[in-house]
Amino acid sequence: MRTSGAARTSITLLAWAVALLLFFPIAWTILTSFKTESSAIDASEMVHFQPTLASYSEVFERAEYLDFAINSVIVSLGATLLVAILAVPCAYSMAFHPTRSTRGLLLWMLSTKMLPPVGVLMPMYILFRSMDLLDTRVGLSLINTLVNLPLAVWMLFTFFKEIPRDILEAGRMDGAGVTDEIRHLLLPLALPGVASTCLLSLIFCWNEAFWSLTLTSSSAAPLSAFIASFSSPEGLFFAKLSAASTVAFAPILVLGWLGQRRLVRGLTFGAVK
């Protein structure tokens, strides 16, 4: 396309202005995390300040912070592992051994996403209470598994569909069993798809807030629930809030950036490529 020099310059400027504007709250949080509490609320020290790691060390010194972080890691990884164990065989059989019920099952799985969490809050709370799952990592992992399973099956299904059937059939001729077929033929071929499915599940588990806030209180609470404790009106701890937030979002932001291109397909159930 022919674009004049001036038009190109203004497009560059405009696009960068928009990008920086959208990123500003994140950049500002990272910046504030290197301030002291007093310089964080001092208008004269908005940009010119003495950088310090004081807020980070204070956040980490509060022993619980690590506990919250560990809860986040265990619950996210645990739920994602469970999702993968359930979703890979399911998507495999739906993609390569479809039956008359496959289509209906896929649509039914999608329909469970339409169940608003708050619609089943009461039963979940009561079931969790009676099974002693309230405020446990196991309980939170289970609920995250339920939340992410339909999306994972759909996402894997669309990735598996693109793998030529001949390759798997050739393996079957050579006498490979179903387990071998999945492990040695399908998974290597579909690795990028499986990886991005797991990545999306990790991101959703890590950021999950509704069930974390309602079904956990202290011993299994993840970072998203911990950050919520900064919401008290007295708690004007801008620098500590920023440091705790930065540590909470940094790993998932990096993962999200790495996988962004492939995530689109999962987020749209394969409808946009």
């Binding site: 560059t12 696009a15 959208l22 051994h97 649509l107 619609g119 009561i126 079957r172 509704f210 998203s224």
Partner: protein, 290 residues
């Protein structure tokens, strides 16, 4: 193992996932329906029993319920409008060839990956706080007055935060859709004398329609269930100004322990979501044909 029995076992590998999902969704759903017809409050355990539509009648007669329903619709509608209109414009912008495009794209989509409790709190405190927030400081710096966002415009504040969270989502999807646009078709239209606006309206926009419908449906599912952002900023207030259906039900359930009432609200939330679901299923069904 014979091929036939292998085939049979392979075509049954979906069962564990389906059983888990069915147990985790159908059982709670039936329980919600059951509770919604019960007099059931954890604070008054001696008052119990079947109450028919009593919980529903009580809920429908409560002004707070209608306020929450209106707030839910305002919230979903506003965020959808903002994210789609801006999303289309920004996708066209970011689809242009400019210096550092890939890096600028990464910055623009970053808000989507930030956890909701963090997003809400950094907006409320670091940016929108009337005394110490960046907006207030900048406003006073240019001679204006700072706005007390959450006191004076609580709903608008929540809409701004949610739009910031969801704009990257629509941008990312629309950008992907734009990249599959047939450039030759655009070039042919240009040769035929179609202006930039005409090409946008007659070729680009129709090409994006599928992506837009997916965005509408996905965002609606999540926006109907918005909770954390309200929980950490306004707690539904002032009054019921920012109480959506999800937050209202949460209050009935875990603050007032009115299980019957909360479940009746839950059923209404489910019905609302299913109106959207019907539309989503229709779009997605065409996916299975290909």
């Amino acid at each position: 193992m014979t091929t036939a029995s292998q085939q049979r076992s392979a075509s049954l590998l979906w069962t564990p996932a389906v059983v888990v999902l069915a147990a985790g969704s159908v059982i709670p759903l039936l329980m919600t329906l059951w509770f919604s017809a019960q007099r059931y409050n954890l604070l008054t355990p001696d008052l119990s029993g079947f109450s028919g539509f009593e919980n529903y009648r009580h809920l429908l007669g409560d002004p707070a319920f209608w306020a929450s329903l209106r707030n839910t619709l305002v919230l979903v509608g506003s965020v959808l409008l903002v994210t789609i209109v801006l999303g289309v414009l920004l996708a066209v912008l970011f689809n242009q060839d400019f210096r550092g495009r890939n890096f600028a794209r990464l910055l623009a989509i970053a808000p989507f990956f930030i956890m909701p409790t963090v997003s809400a709190l950094i907006w409320k405190n670091l940016l929108m706080h009337p005394v110490y927030g960046v907006f207030g400081i900048v406003a006073r710096g240019v001679g204006g007055t700072a706005v007390d966002w959450f006191a004076d415009h609580p709903m608008l504040s929540i809409i701004v935060i949610l739009s910031w969270e969801w704009l990257p989502f629509s941008l990312l999807i629309l950008l992907t859709a734009l990249q599959s646009l047939d450039q030759e078709q655009l070039e042919a239209a240009r040769m035929d004398g179609a202006g930039a606006m005409a090409r946008f309206a007659w070729i680009t926009l129709p090409h994006l329609s599928r992506a837009v419908s997916v965005i509408i449906m996905m965002e609606t599912i999540f926006l109907l269930a918005v909770f954390a952002e309200i929980f950490v900023t306004t707690s539904g207030g002032p009054g019921t100004a920012t109480t959506n259906l999800a937050y209202l039900i949460y209050g009935r359930a875990l603050l007032q322990f009115d299980i019957g009432g909360a479940s009746a609200g839950g059923v209404i939330a489910i019905i609302l979501a299913n109106i959207v679901a019907a539309l989503l299923a229709r779009t997605m069904a065409t996916q299975l044909e290909t």
